[in-house]
Symmetry: D4
Subunit: 227 residues, 8 copies
Amino acid sequence: MSGRAEEPIADLGFARVDLDRESRTGDPEVVFADGKTPEQVVEILARLHDAHPSRAVMATRVSAEAAAAVAAALPQAVLDQEARAVTLGPLPAPRGRVCVVAAGTSDLPVAAEAALTCRVHGAEVETVTDVGVAGIHRLMAVRDRLDAADCLVVVAGMEGALPSVVGGLVGVPMIGVPTSVGYGASFGGLAALLAMLNSCAPGVSVVNIDNGYGAGVAAARIARRAR
Amino acid sequence: MSGRAEEPIADLGFARVDLDRESRTGDPEVVFADGKTPEQVVEILARLHDAHPSRAVMATRVSAEAAAAVAAALPQAVLDQEARAVTLGPLPAPRGRVCVVAAGTSDLPVAAEAALTCRVHGAEVETVTDVGVAGIHRLMAVRDRLDAADCLVVVAGMEGALPSVVGGLVGVPMIGVPTSVGYGASFGGLAALLAMLNSCAPGVSVVNIDNGYGAGVAAARIARRAR
Amino acid sequence: MSGRAEEPIADLGFARVDLDRESRTGDPEVVFADGKTPEQVVEILARLHDAHPSRAVMATRVSAEAAAAVAAALPQAVLDQEARAVTLGPLPAPRGRVCVVAAGTSDLPVAAEAALTCRVHGAEVETVTDVGVAGIHRLMAVRDRLDAADCLVVVAGMEGALPSVVGGLVGVPMIGVPTSVGYGASFGGLAALLAMLNSCAPGVSVVNIDNGYGAGVAAARIARRAR
Amino acid sequence: MSGRAEEPIADLGFARVDLDRESRTGDPEVVFADGKTPEQVVEILARLHDAHPSRAVMATRVSAEAAAAVAAALPQAVLDQEARAVTLGPLPAPRGRVCVVAAGTSDLPVAAEAALTCRVHGAEVETVTDVGVAGIHRLMAVRDRLDAADCLVVVAGMEGALPSVVGGLVGVPMIGVPTSVGYGASFGGLAALLAMLNSCAPGVSVVNIDNGYGAGVAAARIARRAR
Amino acid sequence: MSGRAEEPIADLGFARVDLDRESRTGDPEVVFADGKTPEQVVEILARLHDAHPSRAVMATRVSAEAAAAVAAALPQAVLDQEARAVTLGPLPAPRGRVCVVAAGTSDLPVAAEAALTCRVHGAEVETVTDVGVAGIHRLMAVRDRLDAADCLVVVAGMEGALPSVVGGLVGVPMIGVPTSVGYGASFGGLAALLAMLNSCAPGVSVVNIDNGYGAGVAAARIARRAR
Amino acid sequence: MSGRAEEPIADLGFARVDLDRESRTGDPEVVFADGKTPEQVVEILARLHDAHPSRAVMATRVSAEAAAAVAAALPQAVLDQEARAVTLGPLPAPRGRVCVVAAGTSDLPVAAEAALTCRVHGAEVETVTDVGVAGIHRLMAVRDRLDAADCLVVVAGMEGALPSVVGGLVGVPMIGVPTSVGYGASFGGLAALLAMLNSCAPGVSVVNIDNGYGAGVAAARIARRAR
Amino acid sequence: MSGRAEEPIADLGFARVDLDRESRTGDPEVVFADGKTPEQVVEILARLHDAHPSRAVMATRVSAEAAAAVAAALPQAVLDQEARAVTLGPLPAPRGRVCVVAAGTSDLPVAAEAALTCRVHGAEVETVTDVGVAGIHRLMAVRDRLDAADCLVVVAGMEGALPSVVGGLVGVPMIGVPTSVGYGASFGGLAALLAMLNSCAPGVSVVNIDNGYGAGVAAARIARRAR
Amino acid sequence: MSGRAEEPIADLGFARVDLDRESRTGDPEVVFADGKTPEQVVEILARLHDAHPSRAVMATRVSAEAAAAVAAALPQAVLDQEARAVTLGPLPAPRGRVCVVAAGTSDLPVAAEAALTCRVHGAEVETVTDVGVAGIHRLMAVRDRLDAADCLVVVAGMEGALPSVVGGLVGVPMIGVPTSVGYGASFGGLAALLAMLNSCAPGVSVVNIDNGYGAGVAAARIARRAR
């Protein structure tokens, strides 16, 4: 457990690791590996693990090169290839359940990042795949599973319509994740993002394009507080 | 009926009315009243009616001021207030049937423009209102009516998800019309437009934001050729 | 209470009121008054109240004209002028507590819509005003109140930085609401929207620009499930 | 033929193949290969072929790697290199005729995708190439072929003007396909897309940039219903 | 005639009138009245006329209020209502001929500004109206007039296709002027602007949306130098 | 003078006035009047004046209605009509000199806001008007005045080129202010903003479109520290 | 020389070469090589040369691969590496003179394409390099050369200010070419494009980003008509 | 030292090196290496060093290839790998102190470019790293260092909130540098850019995305003039 008084910040020169974050927010800092060198990723991850030895810490958007460096330096680290993420340390005991729903097969990497993040942040996860709105009966068939969750993460690219339909079926708190799946006038996920922001179904909130991580944190926090 | 040889163009000074269009495309020219003076609208409409006395001609996007000028000068003209359009002359006998589907109550003016345009262009029309995706059972309840049409016009604002869901239910040719209903990140209908362009349901084609007229012409041409 | 079997849809011609929504999602349909005539607003609100007599129903984005029509036809309706919203029927007993945080005085109307929506959807609400990041001590002074909530709604225009700072202070579930407060390169709230979507603080999810209503629904659903 | 009752969905874990789609819409599901692994493409294609043995199924946006995997696993599959698409099973007997019109040589791959899709969806196809508006006599020379079709697919990049000119010449139902051919302020096909959406010729509807597939489905559905 | 040595700048406090411009560029400064008070417009116009008494000076984008102030203070000034412009002083003897071509009736105000500007800058002008690409025969009928000009100004809104078609018919120097005529995805003239910038016809150059003035200056300079 | 210990925040209910700001940053808080009621503007301004009686406080973007309310309630307040700003209390003794340079007459209101802000924030100001790049000799004529300043504020709309030219002439610290002067593809000042951000002259930094206030604060802080 | 009657179009299957263009516009068709296979480029170029043996034909945007194919198949073709263009056949005797002005060294490839295009289209060319506005004296030093030309092509990236300054110095017809030189908020040349479209100097017209070819055709047509 | 009279411009054919810039602005020209060949970078750098032998000259955005060419031709040149910049000649004696503040580890390359540029332009520099707003205590811990500087350069990607928070803590002149760190709706740094332009903290001015160089020049000029 991190101690606020002793060492709120670990200064590595290139980074000031926020060791105090768990005591403020309930969750340790997570390493956003994109734009960092493999060496920096290893060093920050190791320092976070030292401060939180009994609870998993995590790095996201880990390149193949960084994953190799982590594997070499921290052999106990676990790589989730589909999620492009690494964890280090034991997962917390889960409270509450998140259901991650992916509109299509191509959305699976983002869904995997969300699911792993939920687990690292203390929630149980179930994943439902390929229930896009062009075959609405696929969604109807899983409606009970949606209704039973404490929070939903709904992942969709292209026109991003899935959260609107789900939001009309159940009243479970929901986070929409637009993905960059698509081409042309999808403009890298902008179409799905705008669609989710303009959802006519109430209660849909949204995170950045392809941001499974952010959705996972939000959902886990909601789920683990649920009765 | 207009004669190609005699007078393909009526030069009014401020406009060259295309009297030949019906012989080329099957439909007379239509007056886009926006940006024209009331006098110009009246004069073009009258000239089109002279050339096509036995078939309705039409003006769209007619302001209150222009509607008054038309009423005064051409008392036999008929104003459709919800559609903001004027017709002059008898509607053609309908061939084929178009079903105009509106996602919400606020989309009704655009749906009305589409419906009237279909009638002027020779198709029968049925309108289905307020079947947005947040209450999908409303759509399921009218599925047979959708399936029975020769062409669908699906009108929706906000996230514009309705064409995707309809496109997964029936295989009828379909034109999506995004509307400017919404606010903030709807960006005047851009969100709905992008959503429809990126529909994961096959066979959705799209017209300009709020362009009920364009959808009506396209749908009528499809419907009246249908077996 | 609405009965799913008896009358899932009330067809008013211009609208198909979704009387079944409460049984699916836990909350009755809400009237988005923008783009509807005053008469349509009155009629839908009345029909919803008939179906849900013991629980408040609500209309948002109510113009002065529509508010007057509601006051005349439904004298027991209550207008919240700052929120530009009308409620009809008794508020439900609150479960859980939402804290609505507004960055500046100009963001108050959006915060008011969020707060009222929370109450209509069954959560207790506290509002904290004018704690923008340019005077961070103002935020620090209310940190305990933020930490004590079951869900936060953080409302900010201009650069939309407040959710990032709040998200680094507490781990409470949070919905960010960008507002159109600003000018020039705020592009009607786009700057704040993008900032919140790109927040470096984990767990921030976002609704449409000026969408206090959507944030209120999402927050109430989270809060009322909380232990 | 797929049976709705027996097996509406084939759950492959990473995908829920919609075997029911043909019975709902008249056409089997198509594999959008982009973002799927070669193995996933092979497996879904094979499963679709099993369900629809007597009618061609199709995968679009097939990478060279996926094409090789398909060729190895499903030797009876046919690759259309220009269209970057694969078909499996016999083409249906054609009803109705689509004319695919390409503005320039660089638009040919998109035109090829549209043409193959039409054939897979049951329409006869004729292709007319390189009739851009900078040499309008080239278009005039093929006008009769345009007029004789049951539906047109008009493919153009750069300024995307071709549908407007064609739409003034003939009244055949038409789908415009903007392409990403161009540079600079073409913004990846946005210029052509906006031009087609704003066409002053009536009856032009539009699909996503480079979406020959979507145009092909829409056109085939229109053509095969035509008298 | 202005003298460079004597008084290159007339300092009015709120403006430094560039009296030297004619000696550098061949044409006097022109008053852009938008954003200036009526008094400022009058004063600058008067000062320019003093410096160039034998050659017309001009103000563009003149509001009704400013036009009235000019009429009161400078009774010899001439208002061109359609062009929303004022001239003061005798037009120069024309050299060369510009043909201003407008796609539609709604484009006439911009065409009028271009035509008047040409005259003020010393070229003869002919205007051709309503020859949009949806009725290409209207354009073919005036082809000889286009070919005979020394420079073309081609004005079009909506999809802005006219310059591409004209550019394939004649090799005369051409300036395209996109207009804000349109709605929805025309985005205030952006669609027409992008179309003209991406023209597949060679030799099309473009000015700002609705900038008849800029096109007029450019065209007059080209025409009056022509053999 | 405000005392940090005593009362860092004045809670007015609708606002938490930051009385501590001067002690942190050297300058009192300023009222952004846009989006606030006239009563709120009066009350905040009065409260700021109470806390800073010996130094001017300021409100910007003051509507005519708010200006009238201020004049009625705080008769000693001074309105700068061109700058649309109000000050209350004595201006500080100036240190350092800012030169505000406006490209055109239409840019004067933004320049006036910048100039007044400089004075309120303790710097001397000189304004140079209408030295746009289309008459570069006008700029050359004032070069010595530019060179003599401690900081420049360069205000320009349309293509926003002036900071680049000034930045090549002198090495004085410079703040560019893009304005919304222009039309069409100026997109409300976006063109000028992008131009200034991409200046090829070194050392140009930029504030929001029409943000004379922000430029004034920045420039005053630079100038009053200068030797 | 091409004969309109004999063979207006050469149908190569993948292309309809417009052999009639010279007789309509004065210049043969040019091959836009981007998006075409090397074989297609060779074949079209050869066919154009056959039709216009006594006058150079040209291909632009020629990749290294296509250049090699051309060199192998058409050894008499000449490659201009900086312009990425190929010519085949003798240059026409020049009439009139174009001055191509490049703001910076990085703009040289676009300037080279413009210069070669001018020569192929029958004008003499002079190039002036690296006279960007950050060192305005460099421009002043070449002012006489600018003034002596029949047409200017002004090439600039980043903030694209050069045409505005040049347009205030001389009254020669001018085509601005924005380039994609820059980064960040240059958005691939959008900043320079918008700046040139909003130039406060009169008479600037603009072509697409990096479109040296289009500017060259326009300038040559203007210059060769000049007295 | 460069002499204005003798050789204001060094004409290298592909470049006109501005040797006069130091005498006008106090700083020599800097080579923007992007888009220039390695040979051009070497030649311009050498020529600048010849003209300014006693003061460092600099090239920015130096590719690995150009860096190698510089090392080979100018062995006394110094490469700063993190900043991707090269200097040649002795750094000037520093006057004033700039504090460069980076929000995250991934922002370090831009911060390094800013820091080196400050040194080349005559200011002392201190760098503070990884004090993003998600852990505000990290920023509070360095507040005194911020307050002690003569100018701040604040570098941040993602939501770009750091300048707003810093601007509320200290009144030191500040330049914000948005970076392209982020993904999805960061749109290459646009989110951070808009956030900084809309900062609610007074006195924040901004440079282009990733433009550490521009910020460095601006900051050094401010700092070295400070008392």
